[in-house]
Symmetry: C3
Amino acid sequence: MGKNIFFEQKGPFFLDELFTASLLKKKIKIFDIRNLQQATNRDLTFFDHINYISLAKSTKAAYCITTARLKDYLPKTCVPILVKNVIFELCRVTRQFYPNADIDSPDLTLKNSKKIKISKVKFGNNVLIGKKSKIGKNSIIGSNTIIEHDVIIGDNCTIGSQVVLRNSLIGNNVVIQDGCKIGLKGFGFIPLKEKNLRFPHIGKVVIKDNAEIGANCTIDRGSMDDTVIGKNTFLDNQVHVAHNIKIGNNCMIAGQVGFAGSTVIGDNVSIGGQAGVSGHLNIGNNVKIGGGSGVVKDIKDGTVVMGYPAVVLKEFIRNSKK
Amino acid sequence: MGKNIFFEQKGPFFLDELFTASLLKKKIKIFDIRNLQQATNRDLTFFDHINYISLAKSTKAAYCITTARLKDYLPKTCVPILVKNVIFELCRVTRQFYPNADIDSPDLTLKNSKKIKISKVKFGNNVLIGKKSKIGKNSIIGSNTIIEHDVIIGDNCTIGSQVVLRNSLIGNNVVIQDGCKIGLKGFGFIPLKEKNLRFPHIGKVVIKDNAEIGANCTIDRGSMDDTVIGKNTFLDNQVHVAHNIKIGNNCMIAGQVGFAGSTVIGDNVSIGGQAGVSGHLNIGNNVKIGGGSGVVKDIKDGTVVMGYPAVVLKEFIRNSKK
Amino acid sequence: MGKNIFFEQKGPFFLDELFTASLLKKKIKIFDIRNLQQATNRDLTFFDHINYISLAKSTKAAYCITTARLKDYLPKTCVPILVKNVIFELCRVTRQFYPNADIDSPDLTLKNSKKIKISKVKFGNNVLIGKKSKIGKNSIIGSNTIIEHDVIIGDNCTIGSQVVLRNSLIGNNVVIQDGCKIGLKGFGFIPLKEKNLRFPHIGKVVIKDNAEIGANCTIDRGSMDDTVIGKNTFLDNQVHVAHNIKIGNNCMIAGQVGFAGSTVIGDNVSIGGQAGVSGHLNIGNNVKIGGGSGVVKDIKDGTVVMGYPAVVLKEFIRNSKK
């Protein structure tokens, strides 16, 4: 894991600059805050849910924000920092490292594509490109599209008109249709009476080779992780993909489907129009989800489900006949 | 209530210019047509549904379009004008006062933000601003965004890229993400065989302090009233808010939720993704509506509902287990 | 049927250039590939589903890609070309005739409306117009809107801001609100492991007189046929209309409704918010579909349905009371 290319990063901080009330008042330098998997032995991480035990056990982080109940799953190399509300402390500390990742301030470094040199790329009119963005050869970018700073687009991509791309890495041969808004912050915040505390979103959107995104889709970037659209996965129009979602390869996602945050979708999954998938679920490989379904539980490989709440197809048909 | 700042207003009209077939052929001047609450003693109002009895009883309007069945609820100061179809007559008269509020003609007064003087505001490229728009200090407006005439935006707001704002008043510290279309006319018309008669939309959209609107949302302005998003209320991506909806403070509205017209939502309400709320309902404070639900009835304070049609959670779980 | 004005067409091809493995190695010239109804005696057509028997019986096509099971329904004037997978062969051959209809490459011929002469039309700022587009008198086009090559717009139309129109024929008095993306290719492809094979979309979108399309709608063009929105039909915001859908006259389609491909909707149909209609269905005239419903079967004239799956209203109410 290199440096976060999209967000200004502060630090390193001494541990007692991050946790003033802590017993850990040592002059230990913390270089970054990262998830269990990505943290190095110079970083702080967090562990807030039993779902992530296997990642916790193998984390390389030096310190971990967690609870008394979960702390014993961490390896000996990782010092627990016990708190009552992991998410609140995580939010607070992440905002310290990344002060500008909680609101999507529009990129003011944009320049008209006619004023910058990008060779072997075709541009429509009024395409706006941010600093350090890269676009691969034989790609074509439609009119009025905005590609913010540091975005990387591969070769042979077709990006439609009136698209916004931020904080994203786009593979080769990717098609993104008109009106998509990709890489914005997700819907994550701690509700507070007068002014909600926004969770920083320091992840990005990764769209892999040969994927296609239909018109007017929204794909939010990850908070402490990335949002990923797999190879050769096609999304129809008006699909909403929330933060941290990971969709596998060769999936077919029909129109107006919505994903709540942090769910993992396997390979070869097909999802019918207007279906909704709740957050923090695991959907296996080769799963088929009927149109209009509401998925609220994990689904095993190869299962066909339908309904609201979604059940295996046979059961849905039986219930419909009652 | 001052003058309607967004729409050209004709009049005053004499009563017999508005109701030619009426028995009320007096040379009475009518200055405006407004709802029960907003009308003054120089105005005409309308009363079409038993739901609005308490507003009817206290209206200050001089005249009221209503039916024989409802007329006795009006105060003595208000003269009923009896008709068969209140909505049709209301539509007809409102079109006479406001001839340009039924179709959203694009604003042709727009100028590039570089050509006008607005201090202490940061603009992206190609931001277009209409006449008499005001933007507060420390606000930032993303590229290709359109802010039509007379729109007012408060301080410290972040307006994304490719947004359209019309007929709207935006508070302080408001975030509006990319691609939102706010303040357009709602889906209101009288179906006629050859050419539907569009209902004028003379209301506006009011978004209060600290609110956040996700990407590609649509918020229609009110017809005879305003559409309101409360303080510190957050909407996720692709939410659709129809005309006259009033959402309270501190609400959380997840992705792809849809509201039909004229419903009132209390404070501290949370609504899961893809839920739909029918028109003309009252949803109390502290209500939780599960994702994918279809709400077709009023909901009392503090209730948790789920399902289609939505029922209290306990009942939903019981039904799912059958 | 004249020439396809929107897509570059190759050919004519000899039959053995199209079907190399075929027994039909004759030097017969094939001028176009068209659906059963549109094909002339110089064209190739296809017949893949028992639903289309009546069209098959009266086709004028010279040749038809079909299966052993269906071939006997064709008239004697039409020579069947027997294949295992009609859709795959159709896709392959259509790509040969129309090599650029499978990906929506942005139009690079666009010019600012200020640089071209179109009289009696009002334009906002930065309107981009493609080659050979025509816009009728008294129409108005909002800022940042893109009208690609060969699009035809009638008289007295109001096209909002940040709209994209491609491959479309728009009638008179049509209203299209901000942010709509109309005429893009549909969600049609043959799933293949490494790289899906996109189905060419050589049809267009036809929007008839007096229709209205709400904000941020997406209407995909047809694949081998057109997508049609009937006269005086109104769509609310965020509606998704997939390829080949035909909606009749005087329909009311509320917000966030979604249509899967190739369904035919009659006249005077009203559909409540967030309802979904599956593909390849026939919905009769004067049908009412309740909000949030999921329609998976044909519906006869005059029926009122509701639910998921949608059933006649009486049954839905009975089931809800259980």
